[in-house]
């Protein structure tokens, strides 16, 4: 009698293959056959077994095959999961469906044979990559092993497969001819096949003595108390779910690199100190950014698809305010290289701080009497009170950054004392409009600087009509400052409100305070002087989009008109001051510059890219990494790559309740004259905790328990650390957990998960 045992995954057709083999044998000769599966409730993907007995006479055995003459493995991946070689007879053979070389399996049996049945089957269009139907090919290979007639086999295969009879028969024949490792096997298999000798059952006495009577202790609990644990179904799995932390869009969109999701989570748990530390890692200015950042994080918040993005800015401001007067630790100086930073704005200060934290001696040179850059000179106090900026800069100083003010420096000034220079002078030179009589027009950037630092009102008096040209934050800040000087400001912008680069809520606040804005209009020329100006304007219309993606404004022919104003202020853009480069023409860009200088020069901040405080901070972080990498010979790359960011399409919004956003209160005093109090209020602690509960935790498990509730196999449990975990002994890979995860904190893929 010949006994064959097969191993496959449910759905690959092995049980059918063994039945077909039985039919083939009955056609090959006067054989008794018996084929059957190891009966189970297994479904697609589960490891299954099938058995075949063939004998010249009656088969006196109706039990599973434990000691086969031939073991056939339909699915290579089972080798890792199932003890497929168990019980092989001493002179038995093994047939594997694999493309790997025989060398890999030498130690498994005396005679091992391989056949690329998956490849053959897929080439013949039988099954799919994840579940190829390899039965016909495996039949062909087995027929070769017993040196039987392939034509009879092909005919039986074709007559018995449910679909594609020709492709199946061909697969059998290709496999028959593709077997590798042919040796003595066929002779031995023949012998077994044709012997009618009664086999003795060599069973040792010890085995016979061990009756296997119940061990009472093991049965102290009734079976139903742990019904799942006895039936380990995890090896049915073809696809594997896994908890995976993915990037949230708030975090991936923060130019500073802040782990936004994390500090929101910690804030929600009341762990404010831990939360602010998360921010401080990348951003020394949370109190500033909480006020003045356009909050790219909120704009990208997936919650915008449900109701409104989380008020992340308020949380950041709360944390920054709570900790801005705390005293940080100073890192010891570890490195010889001294770094000089020209420019004490957000980029320069951040770069300096990060290098100081790494152990470099860093000095920042600031041209203005106070550090802070545009935060100091360009942002009015009613948006950013001095104390906020002072305290956050003081923390930087406390961490060991030396800040020298009133010191306008060039690169050449640093060459003797410093090993490297970081240039981050910002964009403090207002752009020209190139209209007639331009020298009579006030530069918006200069106006904000001079008013804030020197109290210079540029002669603006109560009741003056002020014409402000531009649509960015400078224009808005100029207008709101003029309003507080008692003037009547009007902003003239050449596009529409949709294209305004200013932060939207700043625009709203300005309008609410009484600033007028005229859209689709641009100046052509200015006449007059002192407090008596006539500005010739032309109407504009929007044409095709330009390189910024916004529609290009085009003058409307013959639409010129005149306006009267006591002052004209231009705020149409800024550029950097070339003084730092000794007046040389240089095109600044992020990172190490290609300059003819004695020391390496690195560039960061507004002069390189961006235009917001947070972008400047991010630029400072990057440049500090690059400087450190430069001196320590470490690899460094600008490349930023955010794969796997959770998008709205990944979120199951049905699992979130719409909840109103808690907005900051904006104060609109009736009389703003000489009132430079902060306009926007922060949130209180309880409001912060409540607002953070609106976070959807995109891409990070927040233990909602959906997976636990939905798992049909009860394969998900809560571990000692309170974390949800999958027990892969029982997970069949149905994927319901992944489907029902509200926040896309799970993935589902072909790889097996290695136990922790």
């Amino acid at each position: 009698m010949l006994e064959i045992r097969g191993h496959a995954r449910g759905g690959q057709g092995m049980v059918t293959a063994f039945e077909i083999l039985a039919k083939i044998f009955s056609k090959l000769g006067d054989y008794h056959v018996q084929s059957f599966p190891a009966f189970g409730v297994e479904r697609t993907g589960a490891p299954i077994q099938a058995f075949l007995r063939v004998a010249k006479g009656e088969i006196y055995n109706r039990s599973n095959v434990y000691n086969p003459h031939l073991i056939v493995v339909f699915d290579e991946s089972l080798l890792e999961q199932v003890p497929v070689f168990d019980g092989l007879r001493e002179s038995g053979s093994v047939l594997l469906n694999t493309e790997r070389s025989l060398e890999n399996f030498k130690d498994k049996a005396e005679s091992v044979f391989t056949v690329p049945a998956t490849k053959i089957s897929l080439e013949k269009g039988l099954g799919s990559k994840s579940l190829p139907i390899v039965n016909a090919a495996m039949i062909g290979a087995i027929i070769k092993l017993i040196d039987a007639d392939i034509d009879i086999a092909k005919a039986v295969v074709a007559a018995n497969v449910p679909v594609k009879p020709e492709a199946n028969a061909e697969a059998s024949e290709i496999a028959y001819n593709s077997i590798i490792g042919l040796g003595e096997s066929e002779l031995k298999l023949h012998e077994f096949l044709n012997t009618t000798k009664i086999e003795e059952n060599p069973v040792d006495e010890d085995f016979l003595k061990s009756v296997g009577e119940p061990e009472i202790d093991k049965f102290s609990e009734p079976y139903w108390s742990q019904p799942m644990s006895l039936n380990k179904t995890g090896n049915w799995r073809v696809l594997t779910p896994e908890y995976t932390t993915k990037l949230a869009p708030c975090s991936s969109n923060c130019p500073a690199g802040t782990d936004v999701r994390e500090f929101i989570k910690l804030s929600g748990e009341g762990k404010f100190e831990d939360a602010v530390e998360i921010i401080y890692k990348h951003n020394p200015f949370p109190a500033v950014c909480g006020r003045v950042c356009p909050h790219f994080c909120e704009q990208a918040c997936n919650r915008n698809e449900l109701d409104d993005g989380v008020n992340i800015g308020a949380v950041e401001r709360f944390l920054g305010d709570r900790f801005r007067n705390t005293l940080p630790e100073k890192t010891p100086i570890r490195y010889e290289e001294k770094i000089g930073v020209i420019g004490g704005g957000p980029a320069g200060l951040t770069a300096a701080l990060q290098l100081r934290r790494r152990g470099y001696d860093v000095t920042v040179f600031e041209a203005a009497p106070q550090a802070g850059g545009m935060m100091r000179t360009g942002i009015p106090k009613f948006r950013l009170p001095d104390v906020v900026l002072d305290e956050e800069i003081e923390r930087i100083r406390r961490e060991g950054v030396k800040i020298v003010t009133d010191k306008k420096m060039k690169i050449s000034d640093l060459e003797d004392e410093f090993a490297a220079a970081i240039v981050a002078v910002g964009s403090h030179i207002g752009s020209k409009m190139h209209v007639e009589n331009e020298d009579q027009i006030i530069d918006g950037i200069d106006f904000l600087y001079d008013f804030k630092l020197k109290g210079d009102k540029y002669g603006i008096e109560k009741g003056d009509e002020i014409a402000i040209i531009g649509g960015g934050n400078t224009a808005i800040d100029v207008a709101r400052t003029a309003l507080r000087l008692g003037a009547v400001p009007t902003i003239y912008y050449r596009r529409t409100s949709n294209e305004m680069p200013a932060i939207a809520h700043e625009v709203d606040e300005a309008i609410a305070e009484g600033v007028k804005i005229e859209f689709l209009t641009a100046p052509v020329g200015v006449t007059g002087s002192d407090k008596n100006f006539t500005v010739t304007m032309t109407k504009m219309e929007l044409g095709e989009p330009d390189e910024s993606g916004r529609r290009r404004p085009m003058p409307v022919q013959g639409s010129e008109y005149e306006i009267k104003a006591n002052k004209v202020i231009a705020a149409i853009g800024q550029r950097f001051d070339e003084f730092v480069f000794d007046g040389n023409k240089v095109e600044p860009a992020q990172g190490k510059m290609n300059l003819d200088s004695k020391i390496p020069v690195f560039c960061a901040g507004d002069m390189a890219w961006g235009g917001t405080v947070t972008e400047a901070i991010g630029s400072g972080n990057k440049v500090s990494d690059e400087v450190h990498a430069y001196f320590r010979s470490l690899p460094y790359s600008h490349e930023e790559n955010h794969p796997n960011v959770v998008m709205p399409v990944d979120i199951n919004f049905t699992y979130y309740m719409p909840t109103p956003r808690i907005n900051n209160i904006v104060k609109y005093d009736i009389d703003l004259y000489d009132n430079f109090d902060e306009v926007v209020e922060g949130l209180k602690e309880e409001e912060i905790v409540k607002e953070t509960s609106r976070c959807m935790h995109c891409g990070e498990c927040f233990s909602c328990g959906n997976c636990y509730n939905y798992c049909p196999d009860a394969a998900i449990h809560i571990d000692d650390g309170g974390r949800l975990r999958i027990d892969y002994d029982y997970c069949k890979g149905c994927g319901i957990c992944v489907q029902e995860c509200p926040c896309s904190a799970m993935t589902f893929n072909l790889k097996e998960v290695v136990y922790e």
């Binding site: 000769g29 006067d30 018996q34 088969i59 109706r62 039990s63 059952n201 003595k209 009756v211 093991k218």
Partner: protein, 400 residues
């Protein structure tokens, strides 16, 4: 040495073994559906349940393809299946269905009714246990229906399933009794093996069409049936039923012999293997464990085997006759793939009743193979070793 390629050129010896048969490779469930078709059953109520499903599935296919002229009705439960079977049998139809485990338990109430209305039919049960939930081989479900009065046959191969269904219709219809032909789950139901399927004409010659008794219900001649039976009459019904049951054993042997003459395969109520002067131990088995035991005892000349094919009514005469040559110290081992909610398994209970006042042999009970646990030759060896060396009245094997 023989080369298979040469073998294929030989004329198969078996070709002439069973004339007017076709050799096929069939699973037990398909042997059952094939048999129902060959018996030209006229009514099949059906409800699926593992491991029986492929029987009614295949019959549905056969009816759908027009290979079998029968009324096939999908029912909403097993209780309804048996109620429909009862109704159809009352009209005189030849009825067939199949069920298993929980389905059979659910139909229990109707089983009594069918038996006590004396309605002939043949039903295949593919044995599985109840709770804890399990779909594998076990005879508890059908053995627990013993006292409903249905005749019960157990077989060990697909061939025997097919042959027993044919014989069962003759016995059922002649004695007006319902008959179960029980298959082992998977070891029979899902095992493909050689089956010699007789030609239709061969079966037709053996099994006549169902005769009419003129008391079937008939829409042309309305009447009421199933009414209340008064105390003074009730015992008469049971007496007649009892009388019919007494004839089952003899008729089984008689039909089995006739079947052998007609088809070439003879069957009896019991089968004795290797029982003779040397015998010290007799394994008493039903169903597929029998086959494995046959193989094992080839290496044990002092171990005999008594296969019970007819289990209910218990073939007392045949059993006593099979072992009449044995002395009273020969050990009988009841191999129980069942649990009757009692100290003894079903086989030991029946053997004790049969031996009472007749023989004094020790009867040992071995519980094994429950819920489909495999009973390989090694397990049978263990049983033999235990009984020879350290016999106990009750032994549970392979429970560790």
């Amino acid at each position: 040495m023989n080369n298979i390629k040469e073998i294929t050129k030989e004329v198969k010896e078996t070709a002439d073994r069973f004339p007017r048969h076709e050799e096929r490779i069939l699973k037990g469930n398909y042997a059952a559906s094939e048999a129902a078709k060959l018996c030209r059953v006229g009514f099949i109520p059906a409800y699926p349940i593992t491991p029986q499903t492929t029987i009614v599935e295949d019959l549905s296919d056969k009816v759908g393809k027009g290979e079998l002229d029968a009324e096939y009705v999908n029912m909403d439960s097993e209780h309804s299946v048996f109620a429909a079977a009862m109704g159809a049998a009352l009209t005189g139809e030849r009825v067939f269905t199949a069920t298993a485990g929980q389905g059979l338990f659910y139909a229990h109430e109707v089983l009594h009714a069918i038996a006590h209305y004396r309605l002939p039919m043949v039903v295949c049960n593919v044995g599985r246990p109840s709770i804890p939930w399990n779909i594998w081989s076990d005879q508890t479900d059908s053995l627990a229906q013993r006292d409903t009065g249905w005749v019960q046959f157990y077989g060990e191969s697909s061939q025997e399933v097919l042959d027993s269904v044919i014989q069962a219709y003759i016995i059922a219809e002649r004695l007006e009794l319902p008959v179960f032909v029980v298959l082992d789950a998977f070891y029979q139901s899902h095992t493909s093996e050689n089956v010699w399927v007789p030609e239709q004409s061969l079966v037709d010659e053996f099994l006549p069409p169902k005769d009419r008794r003129n008391y079937e219900i008939d829409v042309e001649h309305p009447k009421a049936v199933g009414g209340l039976v008064q105390p003074e009459h009730y015992g008469k019904f049971n007496f007649k039923y009892w009388e019919a049951l007494q004839k089952v054993e003899d008729l089984t042997n008689e039909i089995g012999k006739e079947f052998g003459e007609h088809f070439g395969r003879e069957y009896q109520a019991v089968e004795a293997v290797n029982i003779g002067p040397e015998t010290k131990t007799v394994l008493v088995t039903i169903s597929s464990i029998t086959t494995t035991a046959r193989g094992v005892i080839r290496n044990h000349s002092d171990v005999g085997l008594l296969k019970l094919r007819l289990f209910h009514p218990f073939p007392k005469k045949s059993v006593l006759k099979a072992v009449e040559s044995l002395s009273d110290d020969v050990a009988f081992v009841a191999v129980e793939r069942n649990f009757m909610g009692d100290k003894s398994g079903a086989i030991k209970q029946e053997l004790e009743r049969a031996f009472y006042g007749e023989r004094t042999n020790p009867i040992y009970d071995v519980y094994t193979g429950h819920g489909g646990k495999d009973v390989p030759p090694r397990t049978i060896e263990k049983i033999i070793y235990r009984i020879k060396n350290n016999p106990k009245e009750f032994t549970w094997i392979d429970i560790e």
